[in-house]
Amino acid sequence: MTEPNPTLRLKGIVKTFPGVRALDGVDFDVRPGEVHALMGENGAGKSTLMKILAGVYHPDEGQIFIDDRPVVIRSPIEAKEHGITLIHQELSLAEEMSVAENIFLGELPRKKWGFVDWKTLDERVGTILQKLNADWGPRTRIGSLSIAKQQMCEIARALTHSAKIVVFDEPTASLTDAEKVVLFDVIEDLKAEGVGIVYISHRMEEIFKITDRISVLRDGSYRGTLNTRETDEDEITQMMIGRSLELHRRNIEHAEEGEEVLSVEGLSCGRLFQDVSFTVKAGEIVGFYGLVGAGRTEMAETLFGLRRPTAGKIRLAGEEVHIGSPSEAIEKGISLVPENRKEQGLVLGMNCRDNITLPQIDDLTAGPFVANGAEVAIYDMYRDRLQIKAPTWRTLVGSLSGGNQQKIVIGKWLSMKPRLLIVDEPTRGIDVGSKSEIHKLLRELAHQGYAIIVVSSEMPEVLHVSDRIIAMHNGRITRTFSADAVTEEDLIQAISGLTSDKAA
């Protein structure tokens, strides 16, 4: 078989940041019309490599070849001129602006005199949105869309002009199945046009579904490239983390259920969700499964006092409570690990330790001062538990890799030792090794008697951690399953609203 010449080739790329050698002589190439997966643990250097490609960072050493010609990419503009589009891991949007302006940011169609050609813009964005099955229009304010929809708008940027190379850095982290299907169609189309695609994800099933080759990075060094058809999850995991993982399909152990911690009756919030009733007992993990927009996140936010319910009752340990604000929620023993961690959960300009101990800073005092030692001890414990990769606790959270930032947020809320822990998409963007570690940790916490709500869009995850699964569709609970009795088909039916009326 003759292989086509690669469109893009990276050779011996080295990049250091203060205190970290993020990339250490990495080779990587992409052929036209292939989907090339880039894998590695959190902090392995995947995003850094792609940012070098997109002109955001400059390599200390190494060369980039496009169509066999050496090039130097000094800025995002130059990357664009070379036909490289990077869909960033973190949302890179101007919130106050319209969807259309965001999709064409930096390349708005012009008329004479620098006027924006709104008509062409709307038409082109209209076509793209149609292709993406979007139910929102070009003139919608992008900040008013859900995270998943914003992510789809980011993805839409890959379609604005004919690129040679499109890089998707964890595009599915905040998407659910319906949108994923659309994304995969888009990738299929690009592939057919001969575009080379780099695909970064921690989700094995996606990797094996859509990619042709897989390259693995570990601690900034290149571990090799395999043909997807000739390898399996275990081999890749080995390459990534140096050991195999034993993965259970399903939660097999059940914690002893204790008293009822939370009971919710007829809870509603405007059009977001209606008439939600359920209970959570101590020692139990309840998984909320559904599509984006099903109202799960909003329900969690209401329990945490971030939204005002329009109807319904919330009881904590049998006592009716009104939760007016997050600080009241924390006082009553409720913690929320939010879905959108970068915006809602972190102070990027603060160091790792302070971020973790932030909510309990009042309790950690020695006289008028904050007790330094106690704080570091807490940080160390969660760093080990969650395998947080940061040079020291003094490192600013903003300079950690995407996945490690997530771990900091999770550590922060776990360290609160709440009665009721709500985690929204706990392993989004987290590598396989740490993912199973976080699942284990959640199970352990349940054992210790915490009541836990897990909101997740990943079926393997809900199946893996939950004792009970509640399916939601369009703001309503459709069915409740016990973890041993549920089938995947049942779940899919329940979240797409196809369910028969019988409730389990």
Binding site: P76, A94, M97, S98, G106, E107, R271
Partner: protein, 336 residues
């Protein structure tokens, strides 16, 4: 920026309500207008309206440029000093002996020099902000002090008087029934409005202020872009200095003191966010009118000048509070 649809209901009343919620300053303009019309017999008169527009033109011109810079997420504190510099340069240069035989054309080199000085200083501010990454507040604070000092050095603390009567009559002249200065203001307001709402540069102005990193990632040349907006505000500050000196027939080294504060107040009243990313020329125009109507009305009612300051300060806070209340998203909103 594109008109973003917020209400599906297109009925007239509803659209008006929506508009007012987004520009609460205009409700305030209407209220003070009615208030002074009722309270003072001299207020509601064509002559006085023209007066208000002329008075508004100075702050207004600068506010147009400041709106762009502030939507960018920057600020320019040096505008007051640039007013004095441009006015002094213009009035001085057109009196130079070498232009003596030029008749009224002697005004031209003076005006060009004044405007060029404003644009250059703007470019310098922008360049420093771009290349050093130092906050615009600090950079232009330095420029404000430095330029004012330069004006004193240049003028040797003297006022200059315009010997050309065409120049000093210009400030009081009219065109098509409107005072020329008011007309200049209105025309530029329309132009900048179009620039901001219809052009690529305008869209990028919002994008840069909203999320600078995203703008960089998207390949917008953020540095040069910001520099252009600083040049625009420099141009307008210089123009305001020149029109002000035509009104007085002279320039003084103290001209334009505290203008930056008034201008920023007007722009913020008009709904531009200090953090950038949001604002409009329609709002800024309302903010400028609000300040000028208040000053004019209270002046007519013989309220002492310092009370005007107290009242303006309270109104600034009041309007911003109202804005926050009105632009809530209701029950479903995320609480902070």
């Amino acid at each position: 920026m594109a008109d973003i649809t917020a209400t599906q209901d297109g009925s007239g009343a509803n659209r008006f309500l929506h508009w007012i919620i987004h520009h609460p300053i205009w409700a305030f303009v209407v209220i003070v207008f009615i208030f002074f019309s009722v309270m003072n017999e001299h207020f509601f008169a064509l002559g006085n309206f023209k007066n208000i527009l002329i008075q508004a033109s100075t702050l207004g011109l600068i506010a147009l440029g400041m709106t762009l810079v502030m939507i960018n997420g920057n600020i320019d504190l040096s505008v007051g000093a640039v007013v004095a510099l441009a006015a002094s340069l213009t009035v001085d240069i057109m009196g130079w002996p070498m232009f003596e035989g030029w008749g009224n054309w002697q005004i031209l080199p003076g005006v060009l020099a004044g405007l060029a000085a404003g644009v250059l200083l703007g470019a310098l501010n922008g360049f420093i902000v771009w290349k050093t990454g130092v906050d615009a507040f600090i950079v232009t604070l330095g420029a404000m002090l430095g330029v004012r000092g330069l004006v004193f050095v240049y003028t040797e603390e003297q006022s200059f008087f315009a010997m050309n009567f065409a120049y000093s009559d210009f400030g009081a002249s009219s065109l098509v029934g409107l005072p020329t200065l008011a007309l200049i203001f209105l025309v530029f307001t329309a132009l900048v409005h179009i620039l901001l709402s219809r052009t690529v540069h305008g869209s990028n102005t919002y994008a840069v202020g909203d999320n600078r990193e995203a703008a960089v990632n998207a390949g917008i040349r953020v540095g040069p872009h910001m520099m252009i907006n600083f040049m625009i505000v420099g141009f307008f500050a210089a123009l305001a200095g020149i029109t002000l000196s035509t009104q007085m027939g002279a320039s003084t080294p103290n001209l334009g003191t505290n203008f930056e504060l008034w201008v920023i107040t007007a722009v913020v009243l008009g709904g531009t966010k200090l953090t950038g990313g949001a604002g409009s020329i329609i709002g800024t125009f309302g903010g400028v009118l609000a300040i000028q109507i208040l000053r004019n009305g209270m002046n007519l009612m013989q309220v002492p000048a310092f009370w005007v300051l107290v009242i303006l300060g309270s109104i600034l806070i009041g309007v911003l509070f109202l804005d926050k209340q009105l632009n809530r998203k209701g029950a479903e909103e995320l609480r902070l």
